[in-house]
C-alpha cells in the first residue's frame, strides 16, 4: 500500500469539528486553554508555596550532605592529602604542611579558618581551638624571614618596592596616581615574574587582590603579608634569580646571596605548627581533614543513626554515645500512644457534639475550642502546676488520703507528663475531624438498625462505628504527624525520658549550630513520616479519610 492511500484512509476516518479541524485536536486545544487558566489561577499560591516553603526545606535538607567548606577553605591541602596514605600512621609530607600553611594563612586573613575549625570540631574534638590558635600564630613563621630580609634592606618591609617588583608598570602608574576615594586599580602581575619567583608571585597575587578588593588599601602603602616573605625565601632557595632585571633586581640579588649564607635562620613549617598546638603532630587531625575533604559527605547521616566514619568504613558509635536511635524509637512510640489516647478521649466527645441539640452542642464546641485559642506555652505551664509533686493533683490526692505525703506521685518530667500534656494539646485536632464526619451520619440508619431488633451495642458497632472510621483516620493522621514533630511541650514537661527527636534537632539548630546534623535528623524524620503515610495508605486507604462530610 502506498503512503498516499494510507493518508487518504486516515483522513476519511477522522471526525471534524464545525470549523473543519479534526475534533480531537480541537478538543485538546480547548482543554489546554482550560488547564492553563486553572494553572494561572493557582499560580500565585503555587509560587508562594514553592518560594516560601518547598525551596527553604530543600535547601535545609541539602545541608545534610553538603561539605564544601573543607575543600573551599583548604584547597591546596586537600589536593596534597590525596597522595597521603593515612593507613601508615605517618604524618603527611612537607608539601602538605606547606599547603596547609598557605591555606590557613589565607583563610585567617579572610577570617574563615575558625569557621572551618568549628565544622571539623563536630568530627574531632579539639580542632576548633587548634585552628584558632594556629590562625593567631601563623605570622611567627613568616616573621623569621621578614626580619632577616628587613635587616638586609628596609625596602623588603615596605609596600612600594614590593609592588613595583611584583606588579606591572601600568599597574604601578595607576597605583601612584590613585587618590583616596577613587576606585582602586586592578592588580596586574609583572610579565615574567611568575617564572622567576613562582611561589612569591602567587602569594603576592593573593595579597594584592585581597588588599585591593576587601580592605581597599593602596599596595604602595601596605607591606605584604609575612606569607609573601616566606614564599620569597622558598623561591630564592630553589631557583636562580640572576636572570631578572626589572625593578628591585639589586635587592633581590642581595637577598638571594643572604639566603645561601649558613647563618640564615629558617624554620620548618611542621615544627612551627606543632609549636602552636601539639595536636598537629596527631595523625588523627590530618585523617579527619582528609576524611571530610570531599564536597559531599555521608558523615552527618551516619552521625544521625549513631554511626561514624572510620578508616575501615562506617561503624557504630560507642555504646555511651548512642542517642539518636533511642530518640527516634521513643518519638514514634510516644506519638502512637498520644494518638491512641486522643482517639479514646475524643470519640465520646465528638459523638456527644454531633448528637446533642444545637444549643448544647455549640456550648460544648466552645469548650473544646477554648483551650485551642490559648497560648501553647500557657497550657503547657498549666500542666506543670497540675502535675508537679507539690501540684494540684498531688495536693488533692494527699488531702483525700489516697497518697502518702512523703511519696507523692511523680507525674511530670517524664514520659507520663509529656503524654498527658500533648494529648490535651492535640485533642481538638482529633475531635474536629471526628465531629465533622459524625455529624453527617444519618440518624435514620441507627433507628433502622434498632427497629430491626439490634441491641444498642450491635447498632453502634455494626452500623454507627464503621461510618465514623474516616473521621478517626483523618484525626489520627493529623495528631500523629503533629506529635512527631512537637518540641516545646516535651522540652518543658518531658524531663529526660520524655523528650523527642525534635528537641535534639532544635538543639543542633540553635545551640550547637551543627546544621548539617540537624538537617540529616530532619530528613530522616521526614522519610519516616512519608513511609508511615504510605503504609497507612496501603492498610487503611487514604480514600477512607475524611476531614468533612
Amino acid at each position: 500500500m502506498s503512503d498516499a492511500t494510507a493518508d487518504a484512509q486516515n483522513e476519511a476516518g477522522k471526525v471534524l469539528a464545525a470549523d473543519g479541524t479534526p475534533l480531537k485536536k480541537s478538543l485538546r486545544r480547548a482543554l489546554r486553554t482550560q488547564k492553563m487558566r486553572a494553572l494561572l489561577l493557582i499560580a500565585p499560591l503555587l509560587i508562594f508555596v514553592v518560594v516560601t516553603f518547598i525551596a527553604p526545606i530543600l535547601d535545609m535538607l541539602f545541608r545534610s550532605v553538603e561539605n564544601q567548606i573543607v575543600s573551599e577553605t583548604l584547597p591546596r591541602t586537600v589536593v596534597e592529602l590525596r597522595e597521603w596514605d593515612e593507613e601508615t600512621g605517618n604524618l603527611p609530607d612537607e608539601a602538605a604542611w606547606e599547603a596547609a600553611y598557605k591555606d590557613i594563612f589565607y583563610a585567617a586573613e579572610r577570617k574563615l579558618h575558625t569557621r572551618l575549625g568549628t565544622r571539623l570540631n563536630y568530627e574531632q574534638t579539639g580542632i576548633s581551638s587548634l585552628f584558632r590558635k594556629s590562625g593567631r600564630g601563623l605570622d611567627d613563621i613568616g616573621e623569621v624571614y621578614q626580619d632577616q630580609f628587613k635587616d638586609l634592606d628596609k625596602s623588603w618591609d615596605k609596600g612600594e618596592p614590593w609592588a613595583s617588583m611584583m606588579g606591572s608598570d601600568a599597574f604601578n602608574d595607576a597605583m601612584s596616581n590613585w587618590k583616596k576615594g577613587d576606585p582602586l586599580p586592578q592588580f596586574e602581575a609583572r610579565a615574567g615574574i611568575a617564572e622567576v619567583l613562582p611561589e612569591t608571585a602567587a602569594a603576592y597575587d593573593w595579597f594584592a587582590r585581597f588588599q585591593l578588593t576587601e580592605e581597599e588599601k593602596s599596595l604602595h602603602k601596605e607591606e605584604p603579608w609575612t606569607l609573601v616573605h616566606w614564599a620569597l625565601y622558598k623561591d630564592l632557595k630553589a631557583g636562580d634569580v640572576s636572570g631578572y632585571t626589572g625593578p628591585g633586581a639589586e635587592m633581590l640579588a642581595e637577598a638571594d646571596a643572604l639566603v645561601d649564607t649558613p647563618d640564615f635562620e629558617t624554620i620548618a613549617i611542621q615544627d612551627a605548627f606543632v609549636e602552636f598546638d601539639e595536636d598537629w603532630a596527631d595523625v588523627e587531625v590530618w585523617r579527619t581533614i582528609k576524611t571530610y575533604s570531599p564536597p559531599y559527605t555521608s558523615g552527618y547521616f551516619l552521625n544521625a543513626v549513631d554511626m561514624q566514619k572510620s578508616p575501615t568504613g562506617p561503624e557504630m558509635r560507642d555504646e555511651d554515645e548512642r542517642i539518636y536511635g533511642l530518640l527516634f524509637k521513643r518519638t514514634l512510640f510516644m506519638s502512637l500512644v498520644i494518638t491512641f489516647s486522643c482517639i479514646l478521649l475524643a470519640y465520646p466527645v465528638a459523638y456527644l457534639l454531633s448528637n446533642l441539640p444545637m444549643r448544647t452542642a455549640n456550648l460544648l464546641m466552645i469548650l473544646v475550642l477554648l483551650p485551642f485559642w490559648t497560648s501553647l506555652l500557657v497550657r503547657t505551664s498549666a500542666w506543670k502546676v497540675m502535675l508537679q509533686q507539690q501540684g494540684v493533683i498531688n495536693d488533692v490526692l494527699v488531702w483525700l488520703g489516697l497518697v502518702n505525703d512523703a511519696d507523692r506521685l511523680v507525674m511530670i518530667n517524664n514520659q507520663f507528663g509529656t503524654i498527658v500534656a500533648m494529648t490535651h494539646i492535640l485533642l481538638p485536632f482529633m475531635i474536629l475531624p471526628m465531629y465533622s464526619v459524625m455529624s453527617t451520619i444519618p440518624p435514620s440508619y441507627v433507628r433502622a438498625a434498632k427497629s430491626l431488633g439490634a441491641t444498642n451495642w450491635t447498632t453502634f458497632w455494626r452500623v454507627y462505628f464503621p461510618q465514623s472510621v474516616p473521621g478517626i483516620g483523618a484525626g489520627s493522621i493529623l495528631v500523629f504527624i503533629l506529635a512527631i514533630g512537637y518540641y516545646i511541650t516535651p522540652e518543658i514537661v518531658g524531663g529526660t525520658t520524655g523528650t523527642f527527636i525534635s528537641n535534639r534537632i532544635a538543639y543542633h539548630i540553635s545551640s550547637s549550630l551543627n546544621w548539617g546534623l540537624a538537617a540529616a535528623l530532619g530528613s530522616i524524620l521526614l522519610v519516616v513520616v512519608l513511609v508511615l503515610y504510605w503504609l497507612y495508605d496501603r492498610i487503611v486507604g487514604i480514600d477512607n479519610v475524611k476531614l468533612g462530610g
Partner: protein, 372 residues
Amino acid sequence: MKLTKTLMATSALTVAAAGAFAAGHGMSDSMTLVSWGGAYQSSQQKAYVEPYIAMNEGVSATWDESSAEAVAKLRAMNEAGNVTWDLVDVVAADAIRLCDEGLALEIDPDEDLAAAPDGTSAEDDFGDLLVSDCFIPQIVYSTTFGYRTDMVPAGMEAPSQICDVFDLEKYPGKRALEKRPINNMEWALLCDGVAKEDVYDVLETEEGQDQALAKLGTIKDSVIWWSAGADTPQLLADGEIFMGSTYNGRLFSVIEEQKQPVGMMWDAQVFDLDGWIIPAGLSDDRLARAKDFVKFATDTQRLADQSKYISYGPARLSSAPLVGQHADLGIEMAPHMPTDPENAKNTFLYNYEFWADYRDDIDAKFQAWLAQ
C-alpha cells in the same frame, strides 16, 4: 491584625530610614537591640537606653528578645544577606563562636570603648574579661545554688559547700541542675576528689568524663533538669526541690523581691560574662550609631548604674566602687554581687577554650547518659 501590624512596622521603618537620610549625621536614627527580655533587659533599658535617648533626641531603640537563639538567628540573617540587628547581647561563649564564624565585628577596645574617668584605658579597665576580639563585656554573672531555708533538715546547718549538692543523706530532697554538661561536670569532679586546678585536665579524658557522669549518677534520680533560667526559681518557690542551680540574679529576685524562703550558696559559683557584639555586615550609618551607643552604654557610670536594677557585677574595674543601692528596694547591692569578696571565696571561671572544643563531644555523651 498581623498584616496591619506588619504594614505599620514596614511603613514605620521606611519613615525611620527616610529620617536617617534627612538627618544626615551619618548615623541611623533607629537601633534594634537584642537581649534576653525580663528583668535583665529592663535594667539595660533603664541604665543605658533611656539616658542615651534623652541625650540624642529623635533616636529610637527597639528590643528583640532573641539572645538565647542569637547565634543561630544571626547566622541565618547573614546567609540571607539581611542583618536586621544592630547590637546583640550574648554570653561570652556565644560571642566567641560568633567571632569564629565571622558573624561579629572585631573591635578595638581603646578606640571603640570609653576610657575610665581616671584615664585608665578601656583595655586595662576591662582587663581579662575581653575574652574575644569581638566581645564587649557588660556584666559578670554567676551560676550558683539556691536552697529552701525551710527544708533544711532540723538540727542541720544550711548547706554551704558545693559537695552538699551531692550529699543526699545529709540533705535529702530533689535538686535542679541545668540540662547540659557545662558546670555540672566540673562540680561533680570537684566533689569526687579532683583538685580544682586539675578539673579540666581530668575532664579532657574519657575516664574523667565517665568519672564525672558516675558522680552525677549518684544523684541522677533526684535531679530535675532545667533548660530555662526561670525553671529553678519556680521549682524553689513551689517547694518542688530542695536546692537548684541558676543565675545569681534570678535567685536575688526570688529572695529579695518575692521574699521566698530561699538562701544563697555561693560556694564554687561559676563566673560567666555577658556583653555586646556588633553584627558584621551593617551599613555605615547603622554601624556608626551602634558604635556610638555601645561606647556610651559600656562606660564606667552606665555599667555601675545597671547594678541598681539587677544583681550582676559590672564588668569594669572602675565601676565597682560606684555600685550603690537597688533603685526600688533601697538595699545595698554590693553584697549581692557575685564578685563581692565575701561571696567569691571559692569560684570558678567558665573555661571558654575548653568548652569551645569539648562542648559537642561531651554534650553528646551527657545527653546519651541522660536518656538512658
